[in-house]
Symmetry: C2
Subunit: 171 residues, 2 copies
DNA sequence: GGTGAAATTCTGGGCCC
DNA sequence: GGGCCCAGAATTTCACC
């Protein structure tokens, strides 16, 4: 279930997404409130679970993480709950696996992986394929990253005019 | 090229990744330095481009972003630079496209997309397929997200002992 | 939501190793 | 070069209205 967010909340979230260390005062000036009032809203948003955490982005190359890959994992048709558990726990504990999504379609999972080198990726894939839950993996190594916003919110999509809008979408 | 990072730098980066709003003083206590010393290092890391930005993560569901999908984009075999430009610019300007990677293998691009509803996703895919650069798209909608750390660094990979290390890797 | 104030933090300068 | 101490400025985080 979504939570009620007014325009001021959205602006606060947008600013926090762009600069996680912005001060309450600066935020207040941007949204037309005082520092403490903004602070009260932030506390509420944290309490409600809208804000999950504050974090910092690094340049992967500068810290020796040179490889990004996406792995499509096909699982065996017959598997036990324990085997699925084992797979998901492996994913959770492996820091080089950044993301893991259960998807429909021909594959069962999509993984986003970051490693320092192709060798490290190879080793990780070897471990993955050793899991009884895993039947097959298809790996796509990124040659270039065009965009990686990391933004959880696509924020207010302001342009609604030019694009062909779909009528009757009372979501 | 990677940048020289000592253990203290790595600990600072790790802490900043876990909590982007941690104070310099608290950071100093964690790594055995004073606040100002930590601050000097952070300034250096920012200047060197290791630290890219501070940001905030939200619960996608709580802000009405209910759909996550990965789209594999196959491009036409013959295309002009202008057509490729057009595609990449579309990707850059579309906030609902969170990531776009140029990959090898059978596909040409992998996109990570977040939308509020399947209808919005459908509309976005329609626009994608209208681009002359795009030949085919294969979409996998995530039924569940097992892990989405967003962490750029898998940080200290502490376990080096048990795993079969590959000798002769003089990278 | 605002105001005012105390506790904490940021951030720069100067100094030492 | 890197770190420490110190101090003024800014911020966070409380009161209470």
């Amino acid at each position: 279930m979504s939570i009620e967010l007014d325009d001021i909340d959205l602006k606060i979230l947008q600013s926090l997404q762009e600069d996680g260390r912005i001060s309450h005062a600066a935020l207040g000036k941007a949204v037309g409130l005082t520092g403490p009032s903004v602070y009260a809203r932030i506390l509420r948003l944290e309490r409600e679970g809208v804000i999950k955490r504050y974090t910092t982005f690094f340049d992967p190359d500068k810290i020796g993480q040179h490889v990004v890959a996406f792995v499509r994992v096909t699982t065996r048709t017959a598997f036990s709950d324990a085997e699925q558990e084992g797979f998901e726990q492996f994913v959770m504990k492996e820091p080089q696996i950044l993301e893991c999504h259960d998807v429909d379609g021909e594959d069962s999972y999509i993984l986003k992986i970051r490693t320092s080198s192709p060798q490290t990726l190879r080793q990780l894939l070897k471990e993955l394929r050793m899991l009884p839950f895993v039947a097959r993996t298809v790996t796509s190594i990124a040659l270039a990253t065009i965009k990686e916003s990391g933004l959880t919110i696509p924020l207010p999509s302001p342009i609604e005019g030019p694009g062909p809008t779909e009528p009757g979408n009372t979501t």
